[in-house]
Amino acid sequence: MAVFDTPQAAFGALRPVCVQLTRVQTVENVRQLQAHLAGVSGAALQELQEYVLFPLRFALRVPGPKQERLVQSLVQCISSVLAATCVKKQELLQELFSELCTCLAPPPSSGKAAPLSEELKLAVIQALHTLMHSAYGDVVLSLYQPSTLPLLGFAVSLLLTLAEQEKAKQIKISALECLQVLVLQCDCQEHRQLDEDESQQCGDLFASFLPGISIALSRVIAGDVKQGHKTTVSAIRLFYLIVGLVMADKQLARIPKSKEKLPVEHSRISELMIHRGPDWTKSTAEKLSLLLHKVVESSSVHPHWKVRLELVELVHHLLRNCSQSLVDSFSHLLKALVGLVNDENSEVRSRCNKVLQEISEQRIVAQSRALADVLSENLHSLATALPRLMNSQDDMGKVSTLSLLLGYLKLLGPKINIVLNSMSHLQRLSKALVQVLELDVTDVKIVEARRSGPPGPLQQGVQKGRCQKKYFRFFTEEKVFQLLQQVCRVLGYYGNLYLLVDHFMGLYSESGLYRKQAAMILNELVTGAAGVGVDFLQEREVPLNVDDLKGSITSILDEYMDQVNWYLVTSNDTEEGSPEQSVQHLGLTARAGGTSSSVVLLSPEPPVTTRTINSNIWQICIQLEGVGCFAAVLGKEFRLLLLSALYPVLEKAGDRTLLISETALGTLADICEACAYDSVQCLINENSDYLVNGISLNLRHLAYQARASQVLDTMLRHSDASLLPLVEDVIQDVLSALDQSYNSQASTFLRVLQSVMTALVQWFGMPSAEEHQQTDKGHSRALSQGQQEVTMTSQEVERFFLDYVSQKQIAEGDLPDLEEEEADDAPLAKPEPNTDTEGEAPMPSHAQLARDVMERCIHLLSDGSLRVRLKVLDVLELCVTMLHPHGNHLLPMAHRVWPALVTRLINDDPLAVLRAFKVLCTLAQTCGDFLRQRFSKDVLPKLTSSLLSQAPVSARAGPVYSHTLAFKLQLAVLQGLGSLCERLDMGESDLNKVADACLIYLSAKQPVKLQEAAQSVFLHLMHVDPDSTWLLLSEVCCPEGFEPPHASLQPVKLSGMGRPRNELTDNVLLLLQRLQQQEATGPKTSTQEASPS
């Protein structure tokens, strides 16, 4: 079809059709017109606009009932004309507007809406929509005059009815969109921006419709979900747009006091006009608040996310435009907004966050006291309900409740202080937090979990910044705890730190019930105050004052580390826990006068339940974590506080409760990092002066000695020799403290002594003793090689004989050869410490210490408690090792130790006997000669005789025997004897004694364990003297005959040959076999022939 560009051509084309239509109004004619219109260019049509519209409008205006289809096609045609052209005349606009509206109007006779077809309705709505868009800016405004109010009202009510009552989604949505255009809030960008006066005018005008629109829309919004989310979204959008327009703070602020008089002719209209004065604003806001509440309630839980997103926009829009006029509604709105922060849809979440961000950035809350009040009111009621909600809700519910709380706090931002300054608010909030954070203290494992043995090097297993997993009474979800953490941090970030710290310190000391929670909160507050790990929306106004922070931290630390709060009963272990408990009581009574909080604990014998202990353990852990937090917050500044803080933490690192010691180690790691030390060892080393100070001061009090010694223990374990000069006087203090309380504190001090000695051995350990042995071994190896090759050739027999002669000479003490050999060996050996000069030189301080410690050991060797004796024996061994290079000092000490040690060896618990054997072995390395005689004189006879006398008993005994003390003793002696003989290098006669005594234990009648132990004795004997052992064993039982290598030699006759199998046979054969193996692999195993000189 040809396109008509010029108006003339178009006129020519359109004229017949228009005329036709004017004459006969049929659907067919309208269609023809429409068809022709398609061929006319926009510009041409503009010229002919009114001409073309005329027949269409005429057709609409023709009185009498019309065909619906005709009306529909007319309306569609009009709208296509309008779509292509602009309306430039006010009259035309108004007339078209009213004509289109009339199409939808019910016939005047019936009261209700005409039962028009849906297509028609849609067509009209779209036509209206197009009309509004085709009108020029100024022209459009002519619609918004007081005089057109009735017309507008009519249109609005029509559209609202459609939106509300129609079933078809399309119509509903179109109606709502059309309304949106009608109130000049179209989404498209084509419209001219209204200036202030104009929009003010529109606002005045729309105020009249506000009640109708808002009520109808709220109904739509709250309507059935089935209407589709689009409808709801548009309704919400329209709602907030119109409310935002009418209730805009900017406009309301400009409303004059009294209603302006309109010209007289408009008097009826002026009745319709609304004056948006304060009274009206107030009452409208109240009503809107109800509606908004309804809207928020229904849409915040709407299943479709777009609806929820639109709700966020609603809050945003209203908050931006109507924060004053609608202030009462904000409690709902903000609640909705904050609640949506955790929406399941990410878009909603992010938008919500952005809006929140924007709100706080623009300081909407900060600038408006009223909003802050609303928020704080919300906060108050939420805080009140919080404990109940936490009790009743499931974890998801708790998360949303808490994020609400968090959102309020974040929104309040710097205004938090308004809330905090109100005592009732602060109290509610803090009580709520404290209650929610209540820990679950029923877990018995925490109480039972003990540190097993001494902890390894600190570095291992220490994960910095790791908090112990806590178990709460009211929730299990980790997210809940994180939210609570954030709540506290945000409080700390914005709030007045002094006020908060003061308040929670009050709670902390108020009742043991709150203490843990309050401490937890305090930790988070401080963290937040420093701005660490806080998720905030806007920067605080006043930057943090480091001195304030330091002051707060110092006071919290003082409180945490106060005797009453730091030293709690954490163990109900009667054996080792009791000293600590008594410490506890002492500590308490000492300060009973001062503190009121200790009154509860002062009851004569407070029953210590597992619960209490668990709770105490947690409290200490939380406080320890706090110390870590504070360090992290202060960084290097914390170094100054180490003076008071390091000692208590280290004390806890040595605690026997696993949880506490682990936490303390974590804290140490935190401190390390914060204060920029490379390692915990560095930390301890560089601050050892502080620690030593604490230790030495605490050692002065009986009650604290145990703890002080623990710290010393820890310190020694993680330090090196450079520490010694500092620690020396403290160790002397320990010794003198020990001197004053041998009875009560022996076991605690022994632990320290042990660690002192272990450390010393580690730092100054002298390897010379072993080297010494090495040379011996090399020497003996040469000898044993000689023996080994006893083969058949005559040369070898000859050599054997020569060897034998020389051996015999050696045995008789004639040592020319040996000396020669030793002289050969000497250059190989490292120069041994010269014992002669050493006696004159002053002993190094570590050796002096070892001697001092050894002296104490002498006294303690006969302590009543087995545990103590065992410890003493251990320490003694270390001392001996330490003094090893200082023979001149060791020998007198050994002399003094001997009597007590003998008693341990022959007359004590089997365990002690075993350890005593070990000590003897160590001693033997240095003072072999010195001991050999004494041993064979004082100890050996008793041991052998007891072994001999007990043997028949054990041989006869039943299985129960292995539980008796006698058995254990036998076992201990047998287990220790062998190695001792070897170490002491016993003489032949003594060895025989030992062998005789042990032989009967090889009997199959003996309990298996004793047999094994006896075997071990013989194995050791084989090392010392394989030949005689072989002989001895072979005397008992000899499985094979021996052919002499040469006929001139007499046949060997051993008494064991050909004996019938007896009880000893099995074990003896086994041993012989082992002996043979040993000889075969001779060079590898060592046989000690030469005595260590």
């Binding site: 170094r639 003076l643 002066d689 001061l697 002065r700 500092l726």
Partner: protein
């Protein structure tokens, strides 16, 4: 029942030698760090930072010979120290310097501490034991000009001076010297005239230390005996015994009256520090911490009375710092 004596507030370790003298410098206001100077047997002067409780600097200027007197001369940057190398050194410590600016060779072999008195801005008088046995020399510092030499009358047989105390009643008045001698007597010298005003035999043994309260015109001295002797100075400038106080254990190595003249502290050979009320010499406390002879005691000059400290240095190489009777 009396409270048990308190523990030291802190113990300073690390001199690694016996401590012979202590001197506080805590008068400065907030940004200034309170300091404690200690002189040790190994010849080092340690400057302790009382906030970190650590040694800031160690000064080595007496050839590893024992330092037995340390004092500041107006501010913490100028220090005077006296050592067994028979020298008195003047130090400049400003801006981290550690240099000896000047020194006086005393030629005295004993261990009599010198005594310093500020007579005007930037001018000090210093009394010190001189080379010849019984003499005391007064120098003006920093010019080092000799003011006078105080010689006892011929045949007085006082022995060596053991301790000195220069003082003046008020600013501008005549400086007066109190000197304790080996024979147990205390002599009051008029410095400007160079003559002895009064002599009092307080002890049978050498006077080890003395301190004087010019307001009450009363002094106290300790010796190696079991007795503390309190004496007063009347208007005629005569010394007379006021009172004696019997001790449990013999030997006092140092006596100091607190600047506010309320209490005094003694350093005992029995390892103990004793605190007395100065007014009536009422025994207040026995501080037991050290494990060897206490060589010196010193009170701090904090401007806030609550922060006041007492420090004691001992042969056991430790310096104990006490906060005691700070409230009164």
């Amino acid at each position: 029942m009396a409270l048990p004596p308190p523990d030291p507030q802190f113990v300073l370790r690390g001199t690694s030698a016996a401590v012979h003298t202590l001197y506080f410098s805590c008068g400065g206001s907030e940004p200034d760090i309170p300091l404690l100077y200690s002189g040790s047997e190994s010849g080092f002067i340690h400057v302790w930072n009382l906030r970190t409780h650590r040694v800031d600097t160690a000064l080595d200027g007496h050839g590893r010979k024992s330092v037995y007197c340390v004092e500041t001369m107006g501010g913490k940057d100028r220090l005077l120290s006296q050592g067994r190398d028979q020298r008195i050194c003047l130090w400049d410590l400003a801006e981290g310097r550690t240099s000896v600016t000047d020194s006086v060779f005393t030629e005295h072999v004993g261990f009599c501490r010198c005594s310093l008195l500020k007579v005007a801005q930037g001018r000090w008088l210093m009394a010190m034991a001189a080379r010849s046995l019984e003499e005391i020399q007064i120098l003006e510092l920093p010019s080092k000009t000799s003011v006078c030499t105080l010689k006892p009358e011929v045949g007085a047989k006082l022995g060596m001076p053991m301790c000195l105390k220069l003082w003046q009643l008020s600013c501008g008045s005549q400086p007066v010297l109190l000197a304790g001698y080996e024979d147990g007597s205390v002599v009051l010298w008029n410095v400007s005239m160079g003559k002895a005003l009064s002599q009092l035999v307080c002890h049978q043994e050498p006077v080890m230390s003395l301190d004087f309260d010019s307001e009450k015109a009363k002094g106290i001295s300790g010796s190696s005996e079991k007795v503390l002797s309190i004496w007063s100075l009347n208007e005629q400038q005569n010394l007379q015994v006021y009172k004696t106080h019997e001790l449990v254990n013999a030997g006092i190595s140092d006596i100091t009256i607190r600047p506010d003249k309320k209490i005094l502290a003694t350093a005992g050979w029995d390892h103990r520090i004793r605190i007395f009320g100065w007014k009536k010499l009422k025994p207040l406390a026995v501080l037991d911490y050290h494990t060897a002879t206490v060589h010196c005691v010193s009170f701090s000059d904090h401007s806030n009375p609550r922060e006041r400290l007492l420090a004691a240095g001992s042969k056991d190489q430790r310096i104990s710092v006490w906060s005691i009777y700070a409230q009164t």
